[in-house]
């Protein structure tokens, strides 16, 4: 999991650098507003909408799949609609889509299944107008579970495709 954390951190640094230039005026307004209302704790405001943290926490970075399936569910498509909207607005960012499987399957088949899932997400985002060149896919098969119990409650969360926002196109 370390490489993913490193990517997110890197992206956060880039996005801060990116906002200070074109949005300098907005930033100043925000700062003065904060000073004028000291009762509001800045930490409680959450990540700014143009950050990868916001994408991850508020837009929703993952969609889940049924057993041995790579078909997007209605709920999955709704999340991907929001992802596509965010990516359209924040056009400096690229993304890696990770496909995963639960442990109920052989290793190499699950690698291919994870690739199908990440590709289903990519194709959906492309159909919503996101450029193919901004999206890469990778599969981890059953190698990177986030939940470790051997029950459907955990398996359901592991059968996922996660959109990881990373550095801007110009970086």
């Amino acid at each position: 999991m370390t490489p993913i954390k490193a990517l997110i951190l890197g992206a956060a640094t880039l996005s801060i650098a990116a906002c200070t230039n074109p949005n300098r005026f907005d930033n100043e307004v925000d700062l003065s507003a904060t000073r004028a209302a000291p009762a509001v704790d800045p930490a409680s405001l959450g990540p700014a909408p143009n950050t990868p943290e916001y994408f991850q926490q508020t837009v929703g970075d993952r969609v889940l799949f049924e057993v041995d399936q790579s078909t997007l569910t209605a709920q999955g498509r709704a999340i991907l609609d929001a992802q596509a909207a965010w990516l359209t607005t924040n056009s400096d960012y690229v993304a890696i889509i990770e496909g995963h499987a639960d442990e109920q399957g052989t290793r190499e088949y699950n690698l291919a299944l994870g690739a199908r899932r990440s590709n289903a997400v990519k194709e959906y985002l492309v159909s919503k107008g996101i450029s193919d060149s901004r999206l890469r896919v990778v599969s981890y098969g059953k190698e990177r579970p986030i939940e470790i119990c051997s029950e459907e409650a955990c398996y359901a969360k592991n059968r996922r495709a996660v959109t990881i926002i990373s550095g801007g196109l110009t970086s």
Partner: protein, 439 residues
């Protein structure tokens, strides 16, 4: 290290025993169902030079462990012996060995010199027939390679009594696993077939999966995430140097296996969401596409004669086994039972396909004939997967993962008859075993 030992090792005939090699009544037919293990005695090999005694003890013990480990033999402890073997040349006191019901007697002698050279010789006796089983043999090597020499002795004994090829002088490459399920670190390990002499071929920085030995045991194919994306690599065991075989625009390449001639590799390549089989010529770098169905085609395995490839595909809707000509072309489905079938591996004897089967929430290792008939399941557990054949096609090793948050993976072996299921010791968790040819 091992290649040096191999180069130094040679076998020569000691003598042809009186009455020639005989196949007396001492014979195990290992295709039979339930077998009563054959009792044998293996006294410490006689030291013929000063300082060789320690090697004599250790070598006799490894020989005995190899034989007992097959489930076909039972060792008679030294405390039961009536006779002691103090000279390799002296006549055998058959009556004393008969009295303790030792059906086979293995005697040996060792010589060492100050330069680390080791000579091992042995004889096998069919006690009840009152004669030698085959001729005496001698191996010369170094003390560093003492275990290999012991395995060679055990292979010869096994072969003479069963009529089958041996498998003890072989190695296994595998994935060594450490850490919990959600932070598992994997690296390639290599060890003797019995878990001794573990060495590591990669570190844990990049995820590695599913290594496979070359037909000569000198190289290993595997899948690595070194670039951040799965790519197939080949590693030279002697130099521990590796190179990436494929780094095109595709999503990933994985599941590489050598052709029997070692000159080409069949593997899976994923483009978009579609996974197909390709062949890569190692000399020219040229690739040939072998399948073009829209499904997942992976886990290929060549027939020992190189003419056909068995693989898994979900083109029918679920994972099933198919066989096609090695150059691609029409594939015949061979698995038709309930459940899903994956990871087919062709037996080195050519007669059987080993596979992983998922059915009703359980995993099995099984075998079937090449035409799909006579399916037999050898194991059952929460998660068994990834069979690999011993060089003689009589034993299968695989990985078993235990259930739940604390689940870990270990290697197990089982006879092709389904008997003698046992764990193979490894220092940490282990998965994805691949058995080498006989060295």
């Amino acid at each position: 290290m091992m290649t040096r030992v191999l180069a130094a090792m040679m076998a020569l005939m000691l003598s042809v025993s009186a009455g020639l090699a005989q196949n007396g009544p001492l014979r195990i037919e290992i295709t039979e169902g339930v077998i009563e293990p054959v009792p044998f005695a293996a006294p410490a090999f006689v030291a013929e030079t000063a300082g060789a005694g320690e090697w004599g003890q250790r070598i006799a013990q490894v020989v005995a462990d190899d034989l007992v480990g097959t489930g076909l033999f039972r060792q008679i402890g030294q405390q039961a012996f009536i006779s002691q073997v103090t000279s390799f040349q002296s006549p055998v006191a058959y009556a004393d060995w008969k009295a303790i019901n030792a059906q086979a007697l293995i005697t040996g002698a060792v010589q060492t010199d100050g330069a680390g050279n080791l000579v091992v010789k042995f004889r096998v006796y069919d006690v009840f027939a009152g004669g030698e089983l085959g001729a005496g043999l001698q191996f010369a090597g170094t003390t560093e390679g003492w275990r290999r020499m012991a395995h060679k002795v055990a292979d010869a004994v096994y072969s003479r009594i069963t009529g089958e090829g041996g498998y003890f002088d072989s190695r296994v490459v595998f994935v060594s696993e450490a850490g919990p399920k959600d932070d598992r670190r994997k690296r390639l390990g290599i060890m003797d077939y019995d878990g001794a002499n573990v060495q590591y071929l990669t570190d844990s920085r990049a995820l590695v999966l599913a290594p496979r030995f070359s037909p000569t045991g000198d190289r290993v194919l595997y899948t690595s995430y070194e670039s951040g994306f799965p790519r197939i690599k080949v590693l030279d065991i002697g130099s521990v140097q590796s190179r990436t075989l494929e780094q095109g625009d595709a999503t990933m390449s994985f599941a590489p296996r050598f052709a029997p001639d070692g000159r080409s590799v069949v593997y899976s390549l994923t483009t978009g969401g579609n996974t197909d089989l390709y062949k890569l010529d190692l000399g020219s770098g040229a690739t040939t596409r072998l399948t073009s169905a829209p499904g997942i085609e992976t886990a290929p395995s060549y027939a020992p004669d190189g003419s056909r490839i068995v693989f898994e595909s979900d083109r029918s809707g679920t994972q099933q086994l198919y066989i096609m000509p090695a150059g691609g072309g029409e594939a015949q489905r061979i698995s038709f039972g309930d459940g899903r079938y994956g990871t087919p591996v062709w037996s080195p004897r050519g007669d059987l396909i080993a596979f992983t089967k998922q059915s009703k929430g359980r995993f099995h290792i099984g075998v079937m004939r090449v035409d799909g008939s006579e399916e037999r399941l050898l194991t059952a557990s929460f998660l068994d997967e990834g069979p690999t054949w011993a060089p003689n096609g009589r034993v299968i090793m695989f990985a078993r993962e235990t259930q739940g948050a604390q689940g870990t993976s270990s290697l197990y072996s089982v006879d092709v008859s389904g008997r003698n299921l046992k764990r193979v010791r490894t220092p940490d968790g282990a998965s994805d075993p691949s058995w080498s040819p006989l060295q």
